[in-house]
Symmetry: C2
Subunit: 328 residues, 2 copies
DNA sequence: TTGAAAGCGATACCAT
DNA sequence: ATGGTATCGCTTTCAA
């Protein structure tokens, strides 16, 4: 059996209560006894049983994280940030992957919710209605999704699009296509809204060529539509879609960036590796994870307050897939 | 406050003990009372407090997973498999990312070990010695690493290499380079051993061009060495390294596969997306995760037995990066 | 078949 | 400053 607080107490010649205090509120224990306890703890290799502690304190020391798909390169970055910040705050992290299934999301939130002190929902796919209804009394933070009255970490899509369009306009592009992600995706709507605002303000033509799966195949499928739209530049919902576009362009011998410029979103690591490398709007993935945990910690301490949502800066990474507009 | 077993007991007009039995050993409860309890449970939305249960049963219902780096595309696949299988068996999964730091591994194993019923160590980087010493009484399964006497899930590197070399030989290649991963990596040694055996048996020349970081930059760095080695084909430690190689070859206008064939390892999703697409030895990532959990469950039930380690099949995916050897 | 009661290990309150 | 003790929610003997 494992070492318990009683074993420590016995060895140190004090009561369990004192051991507890020596560990959690050392200033309330005489220096000498504190030292004795410390030594006993070390000798026995004692560490408190979290389940027992949780039973009385009502807290678990765990936080839960729900993501749609770990295989999507965006999420591991976020998870790493969450992990790192959680560990600093002495929390462990439950990770659950929903395989892009919105209904799995709800049930996971409910079951995970009981085992944790707080939850981070990363890019949840479920409807706003469902989202509101699953919220029990577990503090919850959204990441990459904004819903009224719920604390959230998001990315500045508008700013990212502004940089992207400024870049394209400076290169002489005037007609720009957008390959959208799933209609149900909040971030797709957010990016599209940003893009509409920015192109309108800049006096560029925006051609929306439809919605595709946020995957390589989605980009492949959209490529021909983009060509038909007679744009000289295309912004994709995300990097993976952009890579699919480029792949299909290559297959059709459409040179990127000579004939067509391509911009993605996310800055997944692969974007810098391919040829041509992908110009993209970088999202601070790890930072967003850390920010999510920070917000959650705040919320867990002051459940009454609604917490301070944050929108994180984005940055355009200019690479090989964008160049001067062809003269038509 | 949450619903407790007492609330259910009161509503059903029975004792807490009966509620407990009705839920865990229904056959020991009269059908009628069982139904009454069932209804009370539903009405109140009761679900047992895991911490309290764990306190008495000594089990947590959690398993822990330690991976070196979630950003490495190999791991998310494994994690997904582990998640899926764990959820089926009604376990939750703690995930910890060590950021490739071997010393972080040991401390994580120790701290996680207390909060879980079993651990899966995925591609652990620590020394065999350390590995043996961190093993407490928590059941532990290795994934992608084999160590005497420890239960493990591994991949058949030898078989993968056999397929790779047979493919290259059939295309007419006779001189083959290997770009190795970290010397400390078990899987690198395993793959290299397999490759040596296979090339020797097939009568091919093997040129080992050194060890690189298992990253894109590692491949970039090794590309020139490969050219200097005058091989017509190169096998890389993994796909990411292979992509780095191809990138550098492209920059030097070395055509793949006309001038040089390239084979990777893992079959990360990006491999099928790039141009030329990458011929690679596919590892069953999700399956390995499931197999790891299966082995762990087995171990948790019979801690006395050592468990049945498994080596999973690998498969060569022939794609665009390999072709006939150039006539010199 | 059911209930009463004794813990599991840690914490927090009330005394001292 | 320290110790005794009730308690968290559940499981599990032991009796009835």
């Amino acid at each position: 059996m494992a070492v318990t607080i009683k074993d420590v107490a016995r060895l140190a010649g004090v009561s369990p209560a004192t051991v507890c205090r020596a560990l959690s509120t050392p200033e309330r224990v005489k220096t000498e006894t504190r030292e004795r306890v410390r030594r006993a703890v070390d000798d026995l290799g004692y560490s408190p049983n979290r389940a027992a502690r949780g039973l009385i304190t009502g807290r678990t020391g765990n936080i839960g994280l729900v993501v749609p798909d770990l295989a999507n390169p965006f999420f591991p970055g976020v998870v790493k940030g969450i992990q790192a910040r959680a560990r600093e705050a002495d929390y462990s992290v439950f990770v659950a992957d929903t395989d892009e299934d919105p209904s799995a999301e709800a049930s996971l939130v409910r079951s995970l919710g009981k085992q944790v002190d707080g939850l981070v929902l990363c890019s949840p796919r479920m409807s706003e209605e469902d989202l509101r209804s699953v919220v029990g009394d577990t503090p919850l933070v959204l990441l990459n999704r904004r819903v009224d009255q719920m604390p959230a970490i998001t990315f500045d899509s508008l700013g990212g699009m502004r940089q992207a369009i400024a870049h394209l306009m400076a290169l002489g592009h005037r007609r720009i296509a957008y390959v959208g992600g799933p209609r149900t995706s909040w971030s797709n709507r957010d990016r599209l809204n940003g893009l509409r605002t920015v192109t309108a303000a800049a006096g560029a033509d925006l051609v929306e060529v439809g919605n595709v799966l946020p995957q390589f195949s989605g980009g492949v499928a959209a490529a021909d539509l983009v060509l038909a739209a007679e744009a000289t530049a295309v912004v994709a919902y995300n990097d993976v879609v952009a890579l699919g576009l480029i792949s299909r362009f290559a297959a059709r011998s459409i040179s990127v960036p000579d004939r067509l410029s391509v911009i993605g979103f996310d800055d997944i690591s692969m974007s810098a590796m391919v040829h041509p490398s992908l110009t993209t709007v970088a999202l601070p993935m790890e930072l967003s994870g850390r920010a999510g945990v920070d917000l959650l910690l705040q919320l867990m301490q002051h459940p009454d307050q609604s917490g301070t949502s944050r929108e994180l800066e984005t940055h355009l990474m200019v690479r090989g897939s964008t160049g001067p507009a062809p003269r038509i």
